[in-house]
């Protein structure tokens, strides 16, 4: 597809479509890569990035709560937390009461909160704003995700990045490479004549169409992913979704469930030393237009219950100590409550960065609740500053190459 077509494609098909945009043009010598991956696991001093996407637009103001600010109480009479309800972080801010484990990590200086993160001219569409965060291109739609471009730049190996979500998120789709995806129940292929015949479908066939070639390449990628990643997965544990009513009230904007199981799988892969440097997981349900307090608190409790043991587990191994976790959502929500005890789509929000290599504490300015733009918060930190920081310090890449020249980083967020 040409660029215009791709752009149109992205616009038409919404947030999950950019996964479709990574063209399989580069021929990779798979046997070499395979041998390298099996014989030469990731050195334990190489750091790893785990990106967690909260789909639906998490309400930042009820996550890192300015409970002491009278303007906050006034804007959300029925939705606001009082000072004595939140977990005090200092500077007049407190964590949502559902995040007790993260409060412990904060006290241990393992949680950094970058406040007021966003981008210029905020877009209030879930799909457009999520595409902006995942492509790191706020001005014009582009067909590649920011970690996809990192994949392209570092040798087009799909095993360098792994998604544990049901469908591949756009952030992991590059021009020539898309990350591998690993279901929670693990990967395994049959052996014998059936396995051999199936594997033979992975060969390219001269003259076949674009999509047929992509389908053949996906069979080949699967063979390799199964050999490298399949072993690291002990046993499948896909549970029934928890479809409790409170849990699903904000569910119309995508994202996965079972974050705990996703992170457990990632922890196992990191500890096994698979040659993967970037992981993606997600949690959906944050589109809280109505009855927000119960729903969001429950989701943040779920996030807390998944993230806390994950970060604690990582601290126990050398490989885990080199992992950095990034948590973001496509936008925050309107300062003013909407009258159905919820909030409509807004702008800037906090980004969490966690891990042994993180310098805990606040970064960036807390957005003002009185100096608003059309009723919404003004972003003080560009989201690409966060990306540039982890690209440079976690993945050892040149941010400017991947972020269209953007290279501003956040000083002191990560330890050298």
């Amino acid at each position: 597809m040409d660029n215009v077509t791709r752009r149109r494609f992205l616009a038409l098909s919404g947030v999950t479509a950019a996964g479709a945009l990574a063209a399989g043009a580069t021929q990779v010598n798979w046997s070499d890569l395979m041998a390298a991956a099996v014989d030469d696991p990731l050195p334990s001093d190489q750091s790893v990035l785990v990106v967690i996407t909260l789909y639906g637009g998490n309400d930042g103001l009820n996550t890192v709560v300015p409970a002491a600010d009278p303007a906050y109480q006034k804007a959300r009479p029925d939705l606001a937390y009082h000072e004595n309800e939140v977990l005090d972080l200092g500077e007049g801010l407190g964590l949502n009461p559902g995040m007790k484990g993260l409060k412990g990590l904060w006290d241990d200086k393992r949680l950094a909160i970058v406040r007021g993160v966003g981008y210029p001219d905020p877009d209030r569409s879930h799909f457009r704003s999520m595409a902006i965060w995942q492509t790191a291109s706020p001005k014009s739609p582009i067909p590649t995700g920011w970690l996809g471009r990192w994949l392209d730049a570092t040798g087009a190996d799909p095993l360098r990045a792994v998604s544990v979500e049901p469908t591949l998120p756009p952030l992991l789709a590059g021009e020539t490479t898309a990350a591998a995806s690993l279901p929670l129940r693990g990967l395994s292929l049959p052996g014998g004549a059936l396995g051999t015949a199936y594997a033979a479908l992975g060969k390219p066939s001269p003259g076949e169409g674009h999509w047929q070639a992509r389908a053949a390449k996906s069979v080949l990628d699967l063979q390799n992913a199964t050999q490298v990643l399949g072993k690291a997965v002990k046993s499948g544990h896909e549970q029934e979704d928890d479809d409790d009513e409170e849990r699903t009230k904000g569910a119309s904007a995508g994202g996965a469930s079972q974050l705990g199981a996703q992170l457990e799988l990632i922890a196992g892969l990191i500890e096994a030393g698979v040659p993967t440097r970037a992981y993606s997981a997600s949690l959906g349900g944050f589109d809280t237009h109505a009855d927000e307090r119960g729903t969001q608190e429950r989701l943040l409790t779920e996030l807390d219950g998944a993230l806390t043991p994950f970060v604690q587990r990582l601290q126990k191994t050398d490989r885990g100590k080199n992992a950095v976790v990034l948590v973001y959502s496509e936008f925050g929500r309107r300062v003013q409550a909407n009258g159905s005890d919820g909030t409509d789509h807004g702008t800037a929000g906090p980004v969490f960065v966690l891990g042994e290599k993180v310098s805990g504490g606040f970064f960036g300015q807390q957005p003002s609740l009185t100096d608003l733009s059309n009723g919404d918060l003004k972003a003080g930190t560009d989201f690409r500053d966060v990306y540039a920081t982890v690209l440079h310090q976690v993945l050892g890449a040149d941010p400017a190459q991947i972020l269209a020249g953007h290279q501003t980083t956040i000083d002191g967020l990560l330890r050298a």
């Binding site: 998604s163 995806s181 292929l189 389908a215 996906s218 904007a253």
Partner: protein, 424 residues
């Protein structure tokens, strides 16, 4: 431009306006196939399958009563399962484009029972989409904006005079009728006011005048006391709307490459002031792009599975309960369960269905279904090509299949081949 063969056109018609060819379908000519799929005849085979009954949601359990809650969740899951199997069955037996377009509209006005939690409402929405599948798009959009499942999904019942909720208003313009970039933030806020007044009663969405904001609104450049219907009409009348709807149908039924301006103009003429979907589809079939070898599409998991069931003469309702469970688990594993789109934006497309995790599940499901089928006539790769209705095998696939003797294995591997996973 080179064209695909006449037989391949017939196969493509079956893929795009049905769920793949049933045994014998490829013997028909192009005109007869178009008449069968897009003509005025009703789909007697599908209509013979009456929808499930007893889908009314269980009465709400008390918050503290864990056992009652569990029982209610179990009942809801059983209802959804019944509904899903019924629809899959309809897809398998369907003979006209009606069922395929119902499937398309389900992805377009994407609504998930995850949040709706009411199988009766999901069925009602589904039946409305079926009734209007090839009719006037305006009628469909009008019906969807006040549909019970849509309203619950996008918080419409919370939207009332004095405290608007923007969820439905925004998604209706962005995803259902206009597309992003063809409205302003102020239009979203004003449109939300037009959509006030709707509440959800036990059976159906109802309009309550006292909750409706009857003041003057300015939406998309027009000022007046608009209600839901008035707002829907305003969006449909926008010049961008026809191109948006045409683009969405084209993307799923013809090609991932958008139509050029001249094509859009021809298709818009066929769609016309009546916004007639059937005429539009007929015009799409007549476009050169429909016969272009480049116009290939990766089958969505439901299309792939239904096509395979149909070719193997299997019916979801006739499978043992255990096998039905595996079928539904397989669809979930590939990332696509009917009545469960991942978001209001609908399902992804193209390479999103070619992930490593989807590949593993596809092979498992193909093996499972092949084992249940009567395959005594299948001896070699040519028999499998005829059974699945593929145009022909590449040397690669021929070589892969040559190593297999067992008919079920032959079918399972063939069903995972690029030639079958993609609608060429």
């Amino acid at each position: 431009m080179t064209e695909i063969s006449e037989r391949a056109v017939v196969r493509r018609l079956n893929d795009r306006f049905g769920f793949g060819p049933a045994p014998g379908d490829l013997e028909a000519g192009v005109d007869a196939t178009v008449r069968r799929l897009l003509g005025p005849l009703t789909d007697a085979a599908a209509a013979a399958l009456s929808p499930p009954t007893g889908l009314e949601p269980p009465t709400a359990a008390k918050k503290q009563d864990k056992d009652a809650k569990k029982a209610a969740n179990k009942q809801r899951a059983a209802q959804e399962r019944k509904l899903t199997l019924w629809w899959l069955d309809r897809m398998v037996v369907s003979r006209t484009a009606g069922e395929r377009l119902t499937w398309f509209w389900h992805g377009h006005f994407a609504t998930s029972n995850q949040k709706v939690r009411n199988a009766a409402w999901m069925l009602a929405q589904n039946q409305t989409q079926r009734r209007l599948a090839l009719g006037r798009f305006g009628d469909l959009a009008q019906a969807m904006i006040v549909d019970s499942a849509t309203i619950r999904w996008l918080d419409g019942q919370k939207n009332r005079k004095g405290s608007p909720n923007e969820n439905l208003a925004r998604e209706f313009m962005e995803l259902f009728t206009l597309g992003i970039g063809h409205y302003q933030e102020a239009d979203v806020a004003q449109a939300a006011r037009c959509l006030t007044g709707w509440v959800l009663r036990k059976d159906v969405a109802t309009f309550q005048r006292k909750r409706f904001d009857s003041g003057t609104k300015t939406v998309l450049g027009k000022t007046g006391d608009f209600d839901a219907k008035g707002f829907a009409n305003l969006t449909l009348a926008q010049p961008a709307s026809a191109g948006f709807v045409i683009g969405r149908l084209w993307f799923r039924l013809v090609s991932a490459t958008p139509p050029d301006a001249a094509t859009v103009a021809r298709l818009s003429a066929a769609y016309g002031v009546n916004r007639d979907v059937r005429s539009l589809l007929m015009a799409m079939v007549g476009e050169a792009a429909f016969k272009d070898p480049e116009s290939s599409l990766v089958k969505q998991p439901v299309e792939w599975a239904v096509g395979l069931l149909r070719a193997l003469r299997l019916r979801p309702s006739k499978l043992e309960e255990k096998e039905q469970t595996k079928l539904l688990a397989g669809l979930r594993g590939m990332g696509q369960l009917p009545y469960r789109p991942p978001s209001v934006g609908g399902w992804p497309a193209g390479a999103s269905w070619l992930t490593t995790s989807a590949g593993v599940t596809r092979l498992q499901l193909a093996q499972q279904l092949a084992k249940k089928a009567e395959l005594s006539a299948v001896k070699n790769e040519e028999d499998v090509a005829a059974l699945l209705g593929v145009d022909g095998w590449s040397e690669r696939t021929k070589t892969a299949l040559a190593g297999l003797k067992d008919p079920a294995q032959l079918v399972a591997v063939a069903a995972c081949s690029p030639e079958y996973v993609v609608s060429g």
